[in-house]
Symmetry: C2
Subunit: 107 residues, 2 copies
């Protein structure tokens, strides 16, 4: 058994990705962000759906088809359908942001 808050990086470390579960149907990962953002002008365009929740910290999630980023705080979750272009505008600069991301195919 492990803990979602174990091994949280300090503010100057790289973003960290850990796969918690992987099956043919889905991948569940923990992400720890420490101020990182998607590089300017870059968008994610994923083949799979992604459900994400912020467990700790905060982030700005921008969909290309929306005018500005959505503010995500602890407990906020959002479904990013496959092929809906999006980017992370910012993550919390003062504390690590811990996410769970569930990637899956199909409806």
């Amino acid at each position: 058994m492990t803990n979602l808050f174990a091994g949280i990086a300090g503010p100057r470390d790289a973003e960290r990705f850990d796969v918690l579960l992987e099956t043919p149907a889905f991948t569940l990962e923990r992400i720890v962000s420490t101020g990182q953002a998607t590089p300017p002008g870059q968008w994610y365009d994923q083949a799979r759906n992604e459900w994400v929740v912020v467990i700790r910290g905060s982030a700005g999630l921008r969909f290309e088809d929306e005018n500005g980023p959505r503010l995500l705080r602890a407990g906020d979750h959002v479904l990013i359908p496959a092929r809906r272009r999006h980017r992370v505008e910012w993550t919390d600069a003062t504390e690590p942001t811990v996410w769970l991301a569930l990637h899956y195919s199909g409806r």
Copy 2:
């Protein structure tokens, strides 16, 4: 978009289950416990695997093949394989316990 901590019941309310995502491959649900436990002598014996994480609060999770309950606190996650009998010995009596549970078949 919604929040995992929305609609959290008070300490005298029943346990609450909300399906967040359902696909042919898995079901993701939020559970809010407010002091409930599995009834005495009763065990869960599930056909699907269940990955659970405690987001807030605490609980005692007992596997039949272990001597005592495991203490789960915020961030602790555990995989309960299909058919491994288990029960919740207790949940926090002082604050709501918020769980995420991912039920899935196969390996």
